[in-house]
């Protein structure tokens, strides 16, 4: 427990995400935490992983310096390929992408995601929209969801299905015509969750320092909980070193900001 309190929640989430990437995987890299998860995976777990960026960039190495958007100039330096969006989207549609990362404003118990429009009382709040999220949810072999864990974001039923998870469970994906995929895990600010064969979200592990009740209280639906709940493995020294070297100012992780505790 030497590193306890020495890491930020976002760093823990990055580590959890990176550990889901296997060597040789073709990864659809999103911005923010998944970007750093890809860097971490490349350096520690999956040296031969390939990263696809939806603007048309393919990388076999992390970008030489931190980027704020995937279109930032350092993201082209040393790239394997730079070109059209359809080139990378075609690999996704072919089924060659092992892992894609998604976030959203709302997730429901079946792993459906909403990043389009949410209700706030009588009002509707317009969010930016799908981007490539719906495509990744439809076409990647495996989807990892990264979310802030709050009661009004972990909801019974999403207001709008931007990115289909398991629909309303069972054989829903197949009957909708989706050939593969679905969410494999949710990495939230409170724990890691996976899905039952019926497509229902369940607890895999809870982050250090939290109780099962606290997690359930922050969730808008019943979370199946094993009798003995595992604790999420905290970041190792090696993992933290890689993360902090890549984002020294803590722009994405906040690790060296004054405000602690996310």
């Amino acid at each position: 427990m030497a590193v306890e309190k020495k890491y930020r929640l976002r760093e823990l989430m990055i580590c959890a995400a990176a550990r889901e990437i296997s060597d040789g995987d073709i990864v659809f890299v999103g911005m923010r935490l998944p970007l750093i998860a890809f860097v971490l995976a490349k350096k520690v777990y999956a040296p031969n992983a390939v990263g696809l960026f939806e603007n048309g960039i393919i990388r076999s190495t992390p970008s030489p310096s931190l980027i704020y958007t995937m279109g930032d100039t350092p993201n082209l330096i040393g790239a394997t390929h730079t070109g059209e969006m359809l080139t990378v989207m075609a690999y996704l549609q072919q089924g060659k992408v092992s892992v894609g990362f998604l976030g959203g404003a709302e997730v429901d118990r079946y792993g459906n995601l909403n990043s389009t429009t949410v209700k706030s009382g009588d009002n509707e709040i317009r969010l930016p929209g799908s981007g490539g999220a719906c495509d990744i949810a439809s076409l990647a072999k495996k989807v990892l969801i990264i979310m802030s864990h709050e009661k009004d974001r972990f909801v019974k039923k999403v207001n709008y299905i931007t990115s289909p998870g398991y629909g309303d469970g069972g054989e829903w994906r197949k009957s909708a015509g989706l050939r593969r995929g679905g969410p494999a895990a949710v990495i939230s600010t409170k724990g890691i969750f996976d899905f039952s064969p019926d497509g229902l979200m369940q607890v895999r592990s809870i982050h250090p320092g939290l109780t099962a009740n606290e997690v359930q209280d922050a969730t808008g639906f019943d979370l199946p909980m094993p009798n003995e709940v595992a604790e999420t493995q905290p970041p190792s020294e090696e993992e933290l070193k890689v993360i902090r070297e890549y984002d020294p100012a803590g722009f994405w992780t906040g690790w060296n900001s004054k405000k602690r505790g996310d």
């Binding site: 048309g56 279109g71 015509g177 989706l178």
Partner: protein, 306 residues
């Protein structure tokens, strides 16, 4: 001799972007976003435009806030670094400054809609969006049965924009253009659109372009007008010329939260500006110097010799 297509941005917008036009912009995604054209469109007070592009970053937000837009066909409208964009939200949620119709695409379906236009077919099939609410609400996405297999597919209807406005790193005066970096859906947008306006960082001799015909991803015969305007994409980056102005995006986020704030911003950075040269002088030499690329990284040439 082929005739030069060089005209000013003012003239290009006046001639080709009309009230009610559908315009493909921001087709490169996060790089090479053609802000200078957006600002000129705002200054010429165009109305009822339909904006087309997968991801707009702030460009769509500015045009929507200025009241130029009645419809948006896009996959994502916001501030890529900061999240929400306030003018877009206000237009959708409160019809301020006017109501807009938002038609939601995913990135792939937008790419395929333009690819269908480029290929000259009425639609292209995809496996994406099945089971999603995009499929339910976007009338240009239609579920159908594959004619060659026992599968459900989605037909993405072709989009043929009236105009595409595309920044390029270099081209000749007739519009044969070299461009590189992340291209997003720009090449298909150029092919699909009825009118193509290029905005070039550099105008170069035809011989330079034809030294590498594999890089001439947009060909002159597709192009109606060429505008020569360096730094036309600030605050977004142009590979090989200038980097992203990161602080602009967080400042814009703060400075345009309320409608009044946005109107002030618009007065200062668009209505109060004559043209791109004037804009660059307001930006200031120090800022320009800080964004300019510091270190060249030239491609190793290839040989077309015979």
């Amino acid at each position: 001799m082929p005739v030069s297509k060089l005209i000013s941005m003012n003239e290009a917008i006046e001639r080709y972007v009309l009230n009610g036009s559908s315009v493909a912009m921001s087709t490169f995604m996060e790089q090479m976003i053609i802000y200078s054209a957006a600002h000129e469109i705002i200054r010429q007070r165009r109305k009822n435009l339909t904006l087309i592009g997968p991801i707009s970053d702030l460009l769509f937000d500015q045009m929507i806030g200025a009241g130029c837009v009645s419809e948006v066909k896009a996959a994502w409208v916001g501030n890529v670094m900061m999240g929400s964009a306030y003018q877009f939200r206000r237009a959708v949620e409160e019809a301020v400054p006017n109501k807009i119709k938002m038609t939601d695409y995913s990135n792939l379906t937008m790419a395929l809609a333009l690819h269908a236009g480029a290929l000259g077919v009425p639609f292209l099939p995809t496996l994406s969006t099945l089971g999603s609410d995009l499929l339910k609400e976007n009338e240009s996405l239609k579920e159908f049965d594959s004619p060659v297999s026992d599968e459900k597919l989605v037909a993405v209807e072709a989009i043929i924009p009236d105009v595409a406005i595309l920044p390029v790193q270099r081209c000749d005066e007739t519009g044969n253009a070299h461009l590189w970096g992340s291209l997003g859906v720009s090449i298909d947008a150029a092919k699909a659109s009825k009118i193509v306006i290029l905005v070039a960082e550099e105008i170069v001799p035809p011989e330079l372009i034809s030294s590498d015909p594999g890089r001439t991803l947009i060909q002159g015969f597709q192009v109606s007008a060429v505008v020569h305007e360096p730094w036309a994409c600030h605050p977004s980056p142009m590979q090989g010329y200038y980097n992203r102005d990161d602080s602009y995006f967080s400042e814009y986020h703060k400075e345009t939260k309320t409608r009044d704030d946005f109107e002030n911003w618009l007065g200062k950075w668009v209505y109060g500006v004559e043209n791109r040269e004037h804009y660059m002088s307001l930006l200031g030499e120090e800022k320009i110097k800080s964004l300019k690329i510091k270190k060249s990284a030239l491609s190793v040439p290839v040989d077309y010799g015979i």
